[in-house]
């Protein structure tokens, strides 16, 4: 059993947190001192002017205040209204106990186990992260409802034991009291940052000096609060390890460090183009699962993991580095923690996906995907799109433009307005004029070595593949397919596109083979001769 609801070391961290808050509140004191200094100096100067030169000191004072701004920007930054003083409600979908009974049961059991209050709200957000928010009043003395935020990408990628460890870590923050002062620290820091930004944006010389002083103070505060934040993370890790086992947490942290990056890449590569086209993927997270399972992405995840492990903790980091966290977890006893019921002790890596906790996960993910798309596109009804239909959207974005640039270049170089650019391109390749296509389609790339056949070949390969794909899709029944490796590919019954490109770049015989397969004609690119004067008979 967990003997106490408090994490070990909580008292010490609490002291440091108070120090952080003290420093942030000290900011107001600093502002007051600076204001007294600024106005005091000006008044003293004004009095001096009046005494020595018998000039109107009042006027001089106003002049100085006008020219220097009198620290007004600093006052506005420190005491002006913040745009949002409340804790912003995290976005995403709110899931009730009726919607997701098993998830709620898991959360409830876990909260009880760490003696944290059971969350009143669970929200599922798009990304690969989890967090807890707690409403607090009176500098954290009174605590209100807890909201648990879980990223849908975690369900897609973690197993049950890992998700449990992640949630236990978050509850560790609640039971450790980290959420008491979190909002205050956050808001005060924002206020300081805003003040520095306002001062830096001002054109007054005095403000630039004030920005420097407050900037130094801000850095000092950040050093303290970030150090506190890292300590809180370590404590929450220890707390989670006791409940869920250090191995599960270690494996969850490792997975999340790589997969949050992959999730971002997946979003940019596969979701953003659909949103831009006013669409949304109906199976966003199914796509993410397939993307992450792709061998090349697994390799990528391994590289990301190694990079994360090699990175040391920085003094401006809010979390300790992955390496440090794993080292800490490795020191903890791994044998079945006393608090774990025996049935739960069997939960180890691979014992079922975290997604199994969800009821009708497909529906939840679909609604979430629609909600994200609505928010991003501003459309009430973005067009639902499955992954195969998505390929056409990706292709249109990338392939169409590049292929057109190449076929247009072929028309320019080949000089025939009435022959498709594709056929002229083939003719030019057969005649060894590929370098002309390169220099016309990518003007400015006219460096020495451009005629080097290897350079020309490299430059032509990719864009020729696009040209072939366009022609095969339009005229030979080719079908676009989404590829988790290359984003999209074209399926058709003949020679694969890559081989067609190789043949086209292999001189006249290769081009002839391509023409034979696709039924394309050879083209005569001899220039049309000038008009001739008629020969008169006499």
């Amino acid at each position: 059993m967990v003997s106490s609801p408090r994490r070990p070391g909580t008292a010490l961290i609490g002291l440091r947190a108070l120090l952080g808050v003290g420093l942030l509140l000290g900011f107001y004191l600093l502002v007051a001192i600076l204001m007294v200094l600024v106005t005091g100096t000006m008044i003293a100067l004004a009095v001096l002017v009046q005494a020595v030169f018998h000039q109107a000191g009042n006027f001089f004072l106003w002049l100085m205040l006008g020219a220097s701004g009198g620290g007004a920007a600093m006052l506005r930054g420190a005491f002006g209204r913040m745009r949002s003083n409340r804790d912003a409600e995290p976005g995403g979908l709110r899931v009730t106990e009726a919607d997701q009974p098993r998830l709620w049961a898991e959360v409830r059991a876990l909260a009880d186990e760490v003696r944290a209050p059971v969350p009143r709200v669970i929200r599922v957000v798009p990304d690969a992260n989890a967090a807890v928010h707690q409403r607090v009043w009176l500098f954290g003395l009174i605590r209100g409802r807890v909201t648990l935020v879980v990223g849908a990408a975690l369900f897609a990628t973690l197993d049950r034991a890992e998700l449990r460890a992640v949630l236990a870590h978050e509850f560790g923050h609640v039971s450790g009291g980290d959420t008491r002062l979190g909002p205050l620290v956050y808001r005060s820091q924002r206020r300081l940052e805003r003040t520095v930004a306002a001062l830096q944006g001002s054109d007054k010389a005095l403000d630039a000096q004030l920005a420097r002083v407050i900037g130094v103070y801000l850095r000092l505060c950040m050093r303290v609060t970030l150090a506190v934040s890292r300590s809180q993370e370590r404590a929450a890790d220890r707390s989670a390890a006791r409940v869920a086992g250090p191995e599960a947490l270690a494996s969850a942290l490792t997975a999340i460090s790589a997969q949050s990056v992959l999730f971002q890449r997946f979003t940019v590569g596969f979701a953003v183009p659909l949103w831009k086209a006013g669409r949304y993927p109906t199976d966003l997270y199914g796509g993410l699962r397939a993307f992450i399972a792709e061998p090349c992405q697994r390799e990528e995840a391994e590289k990301l993991r190694e990079a994360a492990l090699a990175r040391p903790t920085g003094r401006w980091d809010s979390h300790p580095s992955l390496g440090e966290r794993l080292a800490l977890l490795a020191e903890l006893p791994s044998a079945g923690p006393s608090g774990l019921p025996t049935a739960e002790a069997g939960l180890r890596r691979g014992a079922g996906s975290a997604r199994d906790l969800l009821d009708r996960p497909d529906d939840l993910e679909r609604v979430l995907s629609l909600e994200i798309a609505r928010e991003i596109t501003g459309l009430a009804d973005p067009v639902p799109t499955d992954w195969d239909a998505a390929a056409e959207v990706y292709a249109a974005e990338v392939v169409g433009r590049a292929a057109r640039a190449m076929t247009d270049a072929a028309v320019r170089v080949g000089g025939r307005w009435d022959v498709p650019g594709f056929d002229q391109a083939l003719e030019l390749l057969a005649a060894g004029r590929g370098h002309e296509l390169v220099s016309v389609s990518a003007p400015g790339a006219d460096a020495p070595g451009d005629r080097d056949p290897q350079v020309v070949r490299r430059r032509l390969e990719r864009v020729l593949a696009f040209v072939f794909m366009t022609v095969l899709a339009a005229e030979h029944g080719g079908v676009w397919k989404t590829s988790w490796e290359a984003r999209f590919e074209l399926e058709w019954s003949g020679t694969p596109v890559g081989e067609l490109v190789d043949r086209a770049l292999d001189g006249p015989d290769g081009v002839a083979a391509v023409r034979a397969e696709l039924g394309r004609p050879a083209v005569d690119l001899t220039p049309v001769p000038p008009l001739e004067e008629p020969v008169h008979a006499g």
């Binding site: 057109r404 640039a405 076929t407 247009d408 028309v411 320019r412 170089v413 080949g414 000089g415 025939r416 307005w417 009435d418 498709p420 650019g421 016309v440 220039p527 049309v528 001769p529 000038p530 008009l531 001739e532 004067e533 008629p534």
Partner: protein, 323 residues
């Protein structure tokens, strides 16, 4: 003063009474005559010329802006607004070359051209046999930089409906010129192939002269602002091979002596006169000036610095003096 001074006027109607009447009527927003002209499809080039005159109004006339909304099923409404939209787009852009045009002007240019393109595509849909929307779509394609392959596709749409559509050929030549989306080779191939295949005495033979004009304009000294009315032969036109080809064009046009004067034919002769004059062949130029009579065209004379009429008159005086 010229030896035989016919009164020179730059007249977009070329003195054609019907064109004048049409210009006056449309200036008042009266579309009756325009509808009658558009319904006569016997002479596609004359129809094209008259439709051009009908929409040649500065700014965006109210009646044109509203017409397609009032009669959404009327092809002519879309065609007229689309054709006008092209000139209106160029009003926003100005006639300077791309590198001298501001980004705000360019934005407006593209917006107006985009609207014109949609109008013209709608017109083409409503009147599938009419070559005219497709001829204008060549110009929008050029301005919107759809590229030479798309230009070729649109040009094929025109000539499938009217093989020797003059406006379409002139616009296509501009599109395939290197300054837009083409190349010198593509431009000359197009001009020579179409000129060689055109019926005898067709003004389309002058496409070749126009291609040489583009080449002359592309020469470093060919910038209009720097070019004085040529006293002697000038650059590209002075090339013997160029003059030979100009004579070949002139010989093909010579059989058109008895043909009625059309705007296209006048333009062809102005081009030839210009080419011969700048190439220093005053005799050949004089022949063209005689055939031109009073029908001076803006192009190509506006490419020289100074006033169009003065440029024309000076060149004609030199030619006639030599004779």
């Amino acid at each position: 003063m010229p030896v035989e001074p016919p009164v020179l006027v730059l007249d977009p109607t070329f003195g054609d009474p019907e064109a004048r009447e049409l210009a006056a009527a449309t200036a008042k927003g009266d579309t009756d005559l325009l509808r009658r002209v558009a319904a006569e499809t016997g002479d596609a080039d004359r129809r094209s010329f008259l439709l051009g005159v009908a929409v040649d109004h500065q700014g965006r006339p109210d009646w044109l802006a509203r017409w397609p909304e009032e009669e959404p099923g009327e092809a002519l409404a879309h065609l007229a607004r689309g054709a006008h939209g092209i000139a209106w787009a160029w009003e926003a852009r100005g006639t300077a070359r791309a590198e001298m045009t501001g980004s705000e002007q360019f934005r407006e240019f593209r917006v107006r051209l985009g609207v014109a393109e949609r109008d013209l595509l709608r017109a083409a849909e409503l009147a599938p046999d009419d070559p005219e929307p497709w001829a204008h779509l060549l110009t929008t394609a050029r301005g919107l930089q759809h590229g030479p392959e798309e230009l070729g596709r649109r040009f094929a749409e025109v000539i499938a409906r009217h093989t020797w559509h003059y406006r379409a050929h002139a616009m296509m030549l501009q599109g395939v010129a290197p300054k837009w989306s083409g190349s010198t080779g593509l431009m000359f191939n197009f001009a020579r192939a179409r000129a060689a295949a055109a019926p005898p005495a067709s003004p389309l033979v002058s496409l070749v002269v126009e291609a040489h004009l583009e080449t002359w304009l592309d020469e470093p000294d060919g910038e209009p602002a720097e070019t004085e009315p040529a006293e002697t032969e000038s650059g590209h036109f002075a090339d013997a091979a160029v003059q030979r080809e100009l004579r070949a064009v002139a010989a093909r046009l010579a059989s058109a002596t008895d043909a009625p004067v059309t705007p296209a034919l006048s333009r062809a002769r102005n081009l030839l006169a210009f080419g011969f004059a700048l190439g220093g062949d005053q005799f050949a130029a004089a022949e063209q000036f005689a055939a031109i009579g009073p029908h001076v065209t803006e192009s190509p004379w506006y490419h020289l610095a100074g006033d169009i009429i003065e440029n024309f008159t000076a060149a004609r005086e030199r030619a006639l003096r030599a004779v």
